[in-house]
Structures are given as structure tokens and as C-alpha cells.
């Protein structure tokens, strides 16, 4: 009897230790890379940095809350940019989440050429990042400064095959529907490009989620006579709920990384070499994003159904 009890305890302990072993690589990295670096960044935000260009080092002079005071009370655009970035984020998230769920459901059906279409939908992820954007931006810059307007115009005409959307919009405007509705629709249509290019990853995650739903659930629903609408709300939606959280997290982070506030922080840090103010900006905006994440995820998590 006694022996059994001891073994049971040791199993719990063993699982605990195994848990730590599983997360060990990340834990080490987090402590020695993130904690240390974050600590240093916070330190920057409370001090003025003087860079020693000759020896490659830097010296810190502590100046208390001065950087924060400057950013919030004196800086020209910081507060506006922060507010507008946060607002954009909040508007984008539901739009992108539902658009990508909708597209994933379309792409999850069987139709000829499905593989091709899926590959096309993933293209924005490949095109949207890193080197290509760099190269395009650089060529755009050279275009602006380098040659006469004519050459630039011509290049612009040859790079995009898109036809004139204004014609369609004006035709649409003449339909005689209420102006407000028109404006909303046209602005949403105008943003469709952004929405599509920002939802590539989310679509892939949703497709994977949809495919992990056991087909037997749908069979049962069909036998019981559920309509498509009921099947969606009673089976598909609850089953992809955990992945909705993933996607919401990803969307928030993604739109934060693309946001104006980070660009502002970036230019402050690396163009004006003002490390203190730049750190204040990144720390403030990261904190706000974390709070939004916690609130939103907490809210969705309450309604989430896990398979277990």
C-alpha cells in the first residue's frame, strides 16, 4: 500500500520534470536572449545613450522618466500615430478573420484545380515579405529621384496589369443606392487588396483546421437532417474555434508589426539615433498590444470548445 502511494507521487513528479524538459530549449533561450535584451531595452528607455563610434560601444546616462515625458507630452506625432495604429488593428482583425474563414471553407471543397488555387492564395505570404519588398521599394525610390516622370509613368503602366477600377466604381455609384452604403462598400472594395494580402497565413491555418475535423461529425449531422447553416454553426465553427484564437493572435501581431507606430519607432531609433525615445515607443506600443491580446483572447477562450 505504502509502496503504491510513493510510486504515484513519483509519476506526478516525473511528468512535471518531463514538462520542464520539453520546454527547456525555449526556456533557456527566453532567459538568456529575451529577458536580458528586454532588460537592456527598458534600461535604454530610462537613459540617454551616447554611441562611441570609434570603439563600437556605448555609454548610458540615466535620466529617469525624461524620455517618457518627452514622448507623451512633447513629441509631435507619437500619440496620434499610436491611437490610429491601435484603431486600425481593431478594425482589421474581425474583417480578416472572417474573410479568411470564408475563403478557407471555399478552398476546402473539392473542385478541379484546387491545388493551384491554394498555391495562388499563399502567394501574398511569399510576395509580401523581405527581399522582394526591399527590391521593389529600392527601385521605386530610384524611380522617384532618378529619371523624368515619363519613364516612371511608363514603368508603372507596364508593372500592373490591373484595369481601371474607377470606371466600375462610377458605374456602381450611379445605381442610386444610399450614398453612405455606397461609400462603405467602395471603401471595403478598395481595401480588398490589403485584406487579401494580409490573410494568406490565416487561410492556410483555417484549411488545416477544417481538415482536422472528423468527417463522421458531418455524417451524423447529415443523417440527423441538419441544414448547411446549422452544420456550420454547430460543428464547423466550434471545431475551428481554437484556431480562430491562433488566427486572431496572428492577425493582431501581424498588423502590429506592419503598423505606423513601429515605423515611427524605427525611424526614431535608426535614423535619428534616438535610442531612448525609440525604446519608449516600442515598449509602450508592445504593452498596449499585449493588453489587447490578453483581453481579446481571454474573451474568445471563454467561448472556446476543446475536443477533450
Amino acid at each position: 500500500m505504502k509502496k503504491q502511494k510513493k510510486r504515484r507521487l513519483s509519476l506526478m513528479r516525473k511528468r512535471m520534470i518531463a514538462g520542464y524538459l520539453f520546454i527547456l530549449p525555449w526556456l533557456v533561450g527566453f532567459v538568456i536572449i529575451y529577458i536580458r535584451s528586454l532588460f537592456q531595452t527598458v534600461q535604454f528607455s530610462f537613459s540617454e545613450m551616447e554611441i562611441d563610434a570609434i570603439n563600437g560601444g556605448y555609454t548610458l546616462v540615466a535620466n529617469g522618466w525624461e524620455n517618457y515625458r518627452y514622448a507623451f507630452l512633447e513629441h509631435g506625432t507619437f500619440k496620434q500615430t499610436l491611437t490610429s495604429s491601435v484603431m486600425n488593428m481593431l478594425v482589421d482583425v474581425p474583417l480578416i478573420t472572417f474573410f479568411s474563414l470564408f475563403m478557407a471553407m471555399l478552398l476546402n471543397k473539392k473542385f478541379p484545380g484546387r491545388a493551384l488555387v491554394r498555391a495562388i492564395f499563399f502567394l501574398p505570404v511569399i510576395l509580401g515579405s523581405g527581399a522582394i519588398v526591399d527590391a521593389m521599394e529600392m527601385s521605386a525610390k530610384m524611380m522617384q529621384t532618378g529619371v523624368s516622370g515619363q519613364a516612371a509613368d511608363m514603368a508603372a503602366a507596364s508593372t500592373s496589369v490591373a484595369f481601371d477600377i474607377d470606371y466600375l466604381i462610377s458605374m456602381f455609384m450611379n445605381l442610386g443606392l444610399p450614398a453612405k452604403l455606397m461609400n462603405y462598400i467602395t471603401s471595403a472594395v478598395g481595401r480588398i487588396n490589403d485584406i487579401i494580402s494580409m490573410s494568406g497565413v490565416q487561410i492556410v491555418i483555417f484549411i488545416a483546421a477544417l481538415q482536422s475535423i472528423p468527417g463522421s461529425l458531418y455524417e451524423v449531422a447529415k443523417i440527423e437532417g441538419a441544414t448547411g447553416y446549422e452544420t456550420f454553426w454547430k460543428i464547423t465553427f466550434p471545431m475551428v474555434m481554437p484556431h480562430i484564437i491562433t488566427n486572431v493572435v496572428y492577425t493582431i501581431v501581424d498588423s502590429f508589426e506592419e503598423s505606423e507606430i513601429l515605423k515611427l519607432a524605427d525611424t526614431t531609433t535608426f535614423t535619428k539615433l534616438d535610442y531612448g525615445i525609440g525604446s519608449v515607443m516600442t515598449i509602450t506600443s508592445t504593452l498596449i498590444t499585449c493588453i489587447i491580446l490578453v483581453v481579446v483572447v481571454g474573451f474568445i477562450q471563454k467561448k472556446t470548445f476543446y475536443y477533450n
Binding site: F30, I33, I196, S212, H243
Partner: protein, 322 residues
């Protein structure tokens, strides 16, 4: 096929219902096709534009009458772009480098994600909160301290002990390997998160059965859980490949040589072409740039198409089948 007879159909309510259903289905299919084609066009338009540019000759680029279909298509842009980027050796090294990092990322992140999903230990919630923080935290915030760490790399004084000086890892891919091994690589936090969500969604019965049958925790993880998580593995593999391939932030920060990172060569391709080949017209330089971009994108698109098949297969194998 049902025989279609209009009069009979209109009389019989059952036939009427079937007809209505057919019409509804047809309309829905049309709508779906329209949406898919439309969205695909929005995505593809710039790519088509780039491709057209890459195959058009100089005279086409300067001819305002040419639209979409070049008059004198040529592959010369690709040839020169390949030469100037040193394409084949660079892309081979680059793919090997990206593949090895992806392998590390998948192993480490799935392990960590599994640890968070299935084991109970003190401070678990706090630590998982930290994972989310690493996702959200813009890398720009910590780039300077990170640079300093790897510029004077000295883990626990080992480097000083053996070589007598701190290691300078700049210019080598080692910092990125080390970061990936420690779960701090390019978007590692997100991969941990994805794996965590997937493992949490899997039924616990699989592991219980394995445990009853006498499998240890590590055996269960490698031989049972990892195989069951194949959709997540494929998802993370695809993401990691693409993002690692496109990453310029880390490779610029650690000054990784452009011999193994082709995207660095693309970003300077335009000026290289201008200098080496004395092509001064910006419009024409851009054609070469677009050819270069297409050449760089090609392997990653091919890899994606290849994995896409396994994506579906892997998904069909998943579930409780094991």
C-alpha cells in the same frame, strides 16, 4: 440523369423541389467560381505584371503600344540576372541552409508546444504568457542587445577558455542556428503557439493508450504525437521555409554572407546590373530586377507546391488513426 420534362416537373411538388435544389446549387457554384477567380486575379495581377516584364525585350519596355503580351519575348533577362546573382550555387546553399533551420524549428517548437499542451508544472500559465510576449515583441526592440551578444559570443566563458578570446559570430549563419535551437528564431513563438493549439485539440486517449501499453513519454511524443500532429508539422514547415527564405532582418543584423542568402543578392541586383553591364535606363534595369525576383521566388513556390500534396495526405492520415 433524371429525364427532364417541364410539365411533369411543374406538376409534381417533389420534382419541383429537386429542380429548385439544382438551380440553387448551380447558382452557388457560379458564385463560388466568381469569388475564387476574382480573388485569384487580385493576387496574381502583380505577379503576371512582373513575369511579363521579365520576358519582354528592351524595345517592348519602351514601346507604349505593348500591353501584357510582349512583341519580342526573350529569356535574355533571366540569363543575365542568373549570371549576376550567381544563381545556382547561391540558391543551392540557400535552400540547404533554410531546410536545416526549418528542421530545427519544427523539432524544437513542436517539443515546446507539446510540453505546454500536455504537462502540468508550476508557472505554466506565466511561462506560456511569455511565449505570447515573444510573438508580439517586435524584434527591432531587442536587436541591439542581440547584436552585442553574438558579436562577443562567450557562452559561460567557454569560448575564452578554449580559444582565449570571445568569438565573433558576425558574418556566419551560426547566430541564427543558435537562436533557432533556443526557440528564439524567426517567428519561433508563433510556431510554438500553433503546435500548442494543435496538441491541445488532439484527444488525450491516444496518449493514455500509449502509456497503458508501456510507452515512455519521449517515445509517445516522437512516435505517436508528432505523427498525429502532421497537419501542424506541415503548416509550420511551410511557414518556416517561406519566412526563413524571405528573412532579411536577421540576416542583415548578423551580416550573414550573401553567398548563402540569395535575397540579399536580389536587393542589390539592380545596382549590380547598372554597374557591371552599363545598363543605365531605369525602366530596363527594372526588367532585370523582376526577372531576378521571379528566379528567387521559383524554388520556394515549387517547394510549397510539393508540400501542398503532403499537406492533404498528412491531414488525411491524422485524427485518431495514429
Amino acid at each position: 440523369m433524371r429525364k427532364f420534362d417541364l410539365k411533369k416537373t411543374l406538376k409534381d411538388p417533389y420534382q419541383q423541389m429537386l429542380l429548385m435544389n439544382d438551380i440553387k446549387k448551380f447558382a452557388l457554384t457560379i458564385l463560388q467560381i466568381a469569388i475564387i477567380v476574382g480573388v485569384s486575379y487580385v493576387i496574381l495581377a502583380p505577379v503576371i505584371g512582373m513575369f511579363v516584364n521579365a520576358i519582354s525585350s528592351d524595345s517592348d519596355a519602351l514601346n507604349p503600344m505593348v500591353f501584357v503580351i510582349p512583341e519580342h519575348p526573350t529569356l535574355e533577362k533571366f540569363k543575365l540576372a542568373m549570371l549576376r546573382m550567381d544563381y545556382w550555387p547561391t540558391i543551392t546553399k540557400n535552400i540547404l541552409y533554410v531546410l536545416s533551420i526549418t528542421l530545427i524549428q519544427v523539432l524544437i517548437c513542436s517539443m515546446v508546444g507539446y510540453g505546454f499542451a500536455r504537462f502540468d508544472f508550476p508557472f505554466k500559465k506565466l511561462l506560456f504568457g511569455c511565449v505570447v510576449v515573444t510573438i508580439v515583441l517586435p524584434v527591432h526592440t531587442i536587436m541591439l542587445p542581440m547584436y552585442v551578444t553574438f558579436r562577443n559570443f562567450d557562452p559561460a566563458g567557454l569560448a575564452t577558455l578554449f580559444t582565449g578570446a570571445k568569438l565573433n559570430l558576425m558574418g556566419t549563419p551560426w547566430p541564427i542556428y543558435i537562436l533557432s535551437l533556443l526557440g528564439c528564431g524567426v517567428r519561433s513563438g508563433l510556431y510554438i503557439y500553433i503546435f500548442n493549439q494543435f496538441f491541445r485539440g488532439l484527444p488525450k486517449e491516444i496518449e493514455e493508450a500509449a502509456f497503458v501499453d508501456g510507452a515512455g513519454m519521449w517515445y509517445t511524443y516522437f512516435n505517436i504525437m508528432l505523427k498525429n500532429a502532421s497537419p501542424a508539422v506541415i503548416t509550420v514547415t511551410v511557414f518556416s521555409l517561406v519566412w526563413q527564405f524571405n528573412d532579411t532582418f536577421y540576416s542583415n543584423l548578423f551580416l550573414v554572407s550573401d553567398e548563402i542568402v540569395i535575397s540579399k543578392r536580389v536587393s542589390v541586383l539592380q545596382s549590380v546590373i547598372a554597374n557591371e553591364d552599363k545598363i543605365m535606363s531605369l525602366t530596363i534595369q527594372e526588367l532585370y530586377l523582376h526577372a531576378g525576383i521571379i528566379l528567387v521566388l521559383l524554388p520556394i513556390v515549387l517547394i510549397y507546391l510539393l508540400l501542398q500534396r503532403y499537406f492533404i495526405e498528412g491531414v488525411e492520415r491524422s485524427g485518431i488513426v495514429g
